[in-house]
């Protein structure tokens, strides 16, 4: 089963900034949600979301962790 990397973001309280809290490998968006929640639910997050790393567009550098992976 081909898997993609998904980055996981969350905020603790309404109004807090989203933090990058980690990543998971998953074969599709639905399992990415499940895996992210089960992997990172040690805190009582107000909101958690995932984004496929390939969808992230690097802005200011070409050697960052997300560079070269997103749409251009």
């Amino acid at each position: 089963m081909k898997e993609s990397v998904y980055d996981v973001f969350a905020r603790k309280e309404r109004g807090d900034s989203l933090q990058h809290i980690g990543y998971i490998d998953a074969p599709d968006d639905e399992l990415a949600r499940v895996y992210a929640w089960n992997t990172y639910n040690e805190l009582n997050w107000f909101e958690m979301c995932v984004v496929r790393r390939s969808a992230i567009i690097a802005v200011n550098r070409t050697d960052g962790p997300f560079a070269g992976q997103g749409a251009r």
Binding site: P27, V34, N38, T39
Partner: protein, 261 residues
């Protein structure tokens, strides 16, 4: 709107019926947690194993909350959790033996976990007030189990001919007895429906089919009729019982001398 029922409102017969339902839910969650825990390592991916771990912990936490509801009847839940023999368990028949492979685990999530949630939701919507007060968080956590089931059934069904056959076989073998457990067709179930504590047998089966038929159809599986052969009305499940090894783990036998309440 119907009036909520408190534990003290129930006569002895109805109290025994509610107790049977509570034990069916709690025992099933406890044994299901053990079946999930067998796959914390050895799942198809690290993330799938972590998900199994999370679901196992959810089920054990829910079981603890459900056993605690026995206190409303003046019953100490500790011996219920730690001293019963396998023959006294009311867990769903489909959990009597461990899962053979990951497709079997997925079938447990899709079939047994889904059936559990149908029962729990129905119980929480009925007139028995303590169920409504305690079930909300459990049902919210179960939403991720449902997502896991749908995604993995779809994935296996859309994989190889082998994976499609395995998930179909696993679901087909687990469904008939699970449906009998989920929607009993006996006097106790009729009394619970009459009292407005649970839906009728047919309504429970319809709820399950309405909610999950599409998931099973993706694997080429039709929701079958319940298999009620050998139904044990005293316990509220089919014949047999979970294996001793699972019950020893459920009771915490190995660490009994370290048990401090």
């Amino acid at each position: 709107m119907s009036v909520p029922l408190q534990p003290a409102d129930l006569d002895d017969t109805l109290r025994a019926d509610v107790r049977r339902l509570l034990l069916a839910l709690a025992d099933t969650k406890r044994i299901l947690g053990i079946r999930y825990s067998d796959w914390l390592l050895g799942a198809p991916s690290l993330e799938a194993g972590i998900a199994a771990s999370g679901m196992a912990q959810d089920e054990w936490g829910h079981a603890r909350l459900l056993y605690a509801l026995l206190k409303d009847f003046g019953e100490d839940p500790v011996p219920v959790e730690h001293d019963r023999e396998p023959e006294a368990y009311v867990s769903c028949d489909a959990l009597d033996v461990p899962a053979e492979d990951w497709a079997d685990v997925v079938a447990l999530i899709a079939v047994v976990d889904s059936a559990l949630t149908v029962v729990l939701e129905a119980f929480s919507e009925g007139r028995y007030a303590p169920a409504g007060a305690r079930a909300g968080k459990m049902i919210a956590e179960e939403a991720f189990h449902g997502d896991m089931a749908r995604a993995w059934v779809r994935s296996l069904a859309g994989g190889t001919s082998e994976s499609r056959a395995r998930i179909a076989d696993a679901c087909n073998s687990r469904l008939p007895r699970t449906l009998a457990w989920m929607a009993p067709d006996d006097d106790a179930a009729a009394r619970l429906a009459e009292a407005g504590i649970m839906p009728t047998t047919d309504e429970l089966l319809e709820r399950f089919a309405d909610r999950h038929a599409n998931m099973f159809a993706a694997a080429g599986v039709q929701v079958p009729a319940p298999n009620r052969e050998g139904w044990d009305a005293a316990r509220g499940r089919g014949p047999g019982h979970p294996g001793l090894e699972a019950v020893e783990r459920a009771r915490g036998d190995l660490n009994r001398e370290l048990f401090v309440e």
